[in-house]
Symmetry: D3
Subunit: 149 residues, 6 copies
């Protein structure tokens, strides 16, 4: 099936996070980079939000999707991550603390926003499984955060 | 680009909600119905959560994705909708009350869950734009709720 | 069945709110008044929290369970009501705004707290049905708030 | 005093959690079992929500109130526990993290819901003391969660 | 008493919002403008968050503290306002909906942030009285939001 | 610049928490004590809310701003601290759990409230920096809690 999502960074990031096949993910990431976006994707699994946030921040800086020396870029990324986590957690932003665990794929896309004005926006998408710390006792969860950078 | 998302109802619902082209949406919905899922999708835009919830409940019952006479099915749908709204709202579950508005596409998919056990699950996906009540002053938002039915 | 709850104002208020029979309620309320507690109970049903709060505040002041001229007593009552509503709402403190309605019995008990020290405490208990604005599509909900006065 | 609560699983579970006398609790639990309900009650005290959730999940499965092999039953139980914890916590779902501790009695009742339709519901009730980690510096708190199973 | 707050935009905005004397406020606002900051302050009172947000957005744009034609500036302002409201509301972001009202002074300061890097930050401070809709039954509340612009 | 804040305990506590100069802080604290208020201020920095709450409770009791043997005074203080933390956290009441850290100055003032009636109120103010656990990647945050004692 051919998918032609509008060139919106949120939908592209979400699609990238949901693709189950690494080869497909790479192809989509490449295509987005060709269009001028900065892109990174990866996996993170943990029982505490701290590790999820820290792992994503590291990956995003390492891939130079944001400039790790600039606080304002880190600030935008942080808020986009928290917003995405709200979608995953749906209520209290807690995982192990309330006896549940997450295994997530993340995708971060940076580029022009919807508004026709200068300046980048950043989209952080999370997709994965959330549930009891027992195989098979889990269902899908996802979230998206979008911020001006 | 060919997309082969795993047959997970959450990812399918999210993709359906994100497809910008009605023809594509119809094709994906048909394919899911062929696989035995019950599916409905549509649009809802409002400044208050009450209308979003009510509009979706009506559409889902009308399409017989749930049996509107059974409270337990309505209860599962309601919680899946609220969970999806958490992803859209990211914090207080409010729209007009804090001077923002949403225009959303929704998709609801019902069928077997991930666990290999009898009984359906329902996935509610929302995708759209959220922002100030002024054209162009808005960004993407989305959410997903998954419940046993 | 004979019930001998410890003389704790929270449990007494909750029991009073849950008793389905007005005669039983009156008997429990009388017994608590005989023990020196100030007590009021009643019913409130609405789709918005504002009416629930306002109706309870009026009833409690009218029954002189608090002195309506003293802000500190009103402040204690207000926070006890909000805490009880948290138990009923379990997440966003919203009813009609997210398309659900409540029909509640409330009970308020004022008297010495658990700690052996001077000064009263106030307990606000709520019990009732929450659900879709359609008969039979609802389940039980309850909450309790306890504050020093 | 003779108490005849309506046969509603939420009120019954709450009453069971509030009864201070183990003999009385056993009698109420027996009576509910005779009526066809599945019932378990016990105590849990901790400074972190994780232990409260885990201890209750274990007790409920061990007593076969739910079938621990079915994800959908575990999913219903989990959400009912979280809802009950919202009533106890009244705001952030945190205990030790914000320097407070809880000692709780829990009661779980499973059986037909209010709606006249097939399928069980589960009610989780919590009652106890919440406060500073110092004897006597605590007050009552309680909560109830009700879910279709 | 002579006050020499560090040149931090948050503390300056908070002080400006707390000054009870309009003459003093004008003097502090002038001094901040002389230092290169963009500043606006005013009053807003309402029972619903929507009016508070809308009134502040209008005032800030009218005073050209942000460029009302740029979405990214409006987005930063919006999030700073919401953060400040969290401090005022301390829990649910609701006022009239839970039967309380606010009368607030606001101050908005825009300029360089703490980090030594290019780009402005915006600070939104709110200070006032919150309480029952009855004179004298209210206490102080305040909040601050700080965002990169 | 001469500042004449109205004699409101919240504004005074907030100002005291924001003053960057210890000498100025001491002078303001002395002046408030001369007016009959009980006052304490200090610093607390941590990645978890538990330590922030515990450190403040100890300092306030040690300075005899509340009587540590009375639960009702501890209860008022606890709720005022939580309210102030809501302003600092603006959303989930979490710090290290979501990979951020705080360094705060606190000030607590106890005395007559705004209402002309007997009985003290307590104001807890927090001011400081919140951000990534990396120097310079942080911005200002503050909060205030006010309770009857």
């Amino acid at each position: 099936m051919t998918v032609a999502l509008e060139p919106r960074i949120g939908a592209q990031a979400m699609l990238l996070a949901m693709l189950p096949d690494e080869e497909q993910s790479e192809r989509l990431a490449s295509r987005l980079k060709d269009l001028g976006y900065r892109v990174v994707h990866g996996r993170v699994g943990a029982m505490d939000g701290e590790k999820v946030v820290a792992a994503m921040e590291s990956a995003v800086k390492r891939a130079r999707v944001i400039d790790g020396r600039l606080y304002r870029e880190g600030h935008a990324l942080y808020h986009a991550i928290l917003d995405a986590l709200h979608g995953v957690a749906r209520g209290p932003l807690m995982f192990g603390e309330i006896h549940r665990t997450v295994g997530l794929k993340f995708a971060v896309v940076r580029g022009p926003g919807v508004a026709r004005e200068p300046g980048d926006w950043i989209a952080v998408a999370l997709y994965g499984m959330i549930g009891a710390p027992a195989k098979g006792f889990e269902h899908e969860a996802l979230g998206l955060g979008v911020f001006h950078i």
